[in-house]
């Protein structure tokens, strides 16, 4: 962005301490009146060097660190990391563990979408909506808490399996929560589609076309809102996703409204997936039998090699590239976060919009600064 300002133009820093996002992030906007002339995203306010830290931790210790890459999708981060190691060390995960992983990851998707949507609603001035979505999110969090033992950073997955089995009566709890959640999601949808003020703030705002989105490398709901049905769960299946029936939620418009609609549909799909899993889940061990892997993970020396494993995060494509040199610590880990490209769409999208739309557009991307900075 050019630092020079013309007459009646000014540069406003939105951030790093700004209510716009759950995480420090700075948007330098050059404004002419209310209109954004040019903008630039500055990152790195919470860059914590996870990639370097992972090089100094053993594989097992790494699980706790990758939890903290993105605080809203801790389980999918773990899945990507653990999946890498399993590919390198050639570990077969028993089916029951796979099903439990799918259940927990879909829960994590639901809670992330609920937070993202509510936060986004509060950005267009709809504070009560935020309260409602967080209220429903708390129920989901309680369910996750009862399985993993923590609310945000779970440390739940282990190499070859999961730490704990599902608790007694989990299925009933899930069904009870889902009855309420279905109703709540329906009411959100009705609210979003019937409220005129809301529609005037969202329909046709921040239109991301499929070409631009592909060029920038966007994935996840922002991409699917443009009409591209790209979903790692279907295109490059991992775990038991091939056995499950789900559809990839797609919207055509690519605007703010479509992105929120995609999230609403995805939550429904996630609930459907979880119900299938709970019906289909087989009995069996949580860890591969006849190996040393278990809750007490042995000190691992992973064979040398390189692997790229990607999973579908609530926000898109989460990938880990892991280089192993045969020791007990990874030689190099590269984290490919989904928000990293998504955030780069902001400067082109923000050209010519009003300030109030900045937060609407940025919020609808459902970005997670922590993951961008890593």
């Amino acid at each position: 962005m050019d630092e020079k300002v013309g007459p009646s133009e000014m540069i406003v820093h939105l951030g790093p301490q700004h209510p716009m996002m759950p995480g420090p992030f700075r948007l330098n906007a050059k404004l002419r009146g209310e209109t954004v002339v040019d903008s630039e995203v500055e990152m790195g306010w919470i860059h914590k060097g996870i990639e370097k830290i992972l090089e100094n931790k053993t594989y097992l210790q790494g699980i706790t660190i990758v939890d903290r890459i993105c605080y809203l999708a801790a389980l999918t981060n773990e899945e990507a990391y653990v999946g890498c190691v399993e590919k390198l060390a050639d570990i077969e995960v028993p089916p029951r563990a796979q099903y439990i992983r799918v259940i927990m990851e879909e829960f994590s998707r639901i809670q992330s979408h609920l937070l993202g949507m509510g936060e986004y609603a509060s950005f267009v001035g709809f504070v009560s909506m935020f309260m409602y979505t967080i209220r429903d999110r708390e129920d989901v969090m309680t369910l996750m808490d009862s399985v993993t033992g923590a609310r945000v950073t779970h440390s739940f997955l282990r190499f070859g399996g999961v730490k704990d089995d599902l608790p007694e009566g989990f299925k009933d709890d899930v069904q009870r929560v889902f009855v309420n959640l279905r109703k709540a999601i329906d009411s959100y949808e009705e609210l979003f589609s019937s409220d005129e003020i809301y529609r005037s703030r969202t329909v046709g705002i921040g239109v991301l076309t499929a070409e631009v989105a592909k060029d920038i490398g966007v994935s996840g709901p922002p991409l699917r809102a443009t009409g591209v049905a790209f979903d790692i769960r279907r295109d490059e299946p991992y775990l038991v996703y091939p056995d499950l029936d789900f559809k990839v939620c797609v919207q055509k418009a690519g605007d703010v409204y479509a992105r929120v609609q995609v999230r609403l549909d995805e939550m429904r799909e996630s609930m459907y997936i979880i119900e299938q899993c709970l019906d289909q889940i087989p009995k069996g061990p949580l860890f591969p039998e006849g190996t040393a892997y278990g809750r007490r993970t042995p000190v691992m020396r992973v064979p040398a090699g390189e692997v790229f494993h990607r999973v579908e995060d609530p926000r898109g494509e989460m990938g880990f590239y892991m280089v192993s040199d045969g020791s007990d610590k990874p030689y190099r880990v590269k984290i490919r976060g989904p928000v990293y490209p998504t955030l780069q769409t902001l400067p082109p999208l923000l050209k010519g919009v009003k300030i109030a739309d900045i937060v609407a557009i940025a919020g609808s991307m459902d970005t997670c600064t922590s993951e961008v900075d890593r």
Binding site: S8, M10, V12
Partner: protein, 129 residues
């Protein structure tokens, strides 16, 4: 009957206004003086600098206004004055036996104003930048 003060003497009805005005003007400075004496002070290098979400601001906030703002303000002033003309007319509209004539006059007036309004709409001068 609603007369609580003798309205015929116009000064009377403004004496309370004056009293309140004095109090209203004195109250904030008095409050701030009390606050100044009672409140603690913190130290900090950038305490008195302009807040801008933790960043160092670039440039002054007192920029030159857009020309559009002035056009806009002029349109507003025009319309507001037109509205002001309506007040005396509203007073004599009824009960003075001139209702029909007043109506015609006012229709002419409103028509002229509407003409200007439509012109502004067509010119998109009322679009906020």
């Amino acid at each position: 009957m609603s007369g609580i003060i003798d309205i015929s003497n116009i000064i009377y009805s403004y004496i309370p206004v004056a009293i309140i005005l004095v109090v209203a003007i004195l109250m904030p400075p008095m409050t701030m003086f009390l606050v100044k004496t009672l409140s603690p002070r913190s130290r900090g290098v950038s305490k008195y600098e302009t807040y801008e979400a933790g960043s160092v601001p670039i440039g002054d906030a007192r920029i030159q206004f857009n020309v559009e703002y002035y056009l806009y303000a002029i349109a507003f002033v025009l319309f507001d004055i037109e509205v002001l003309f309506l007040y005396p007319w509203a007073m004599i509209f009824q009960g003075h036996g001139i209702t029909e004539i007043a109506t015609v006059e006012m229709l002419v007036f409103i028509f002229v104003v509407l003409f200007g309004y439509v012109y502004l709409l067509k010119k998109e001068a009322l679009k906020w930048q």
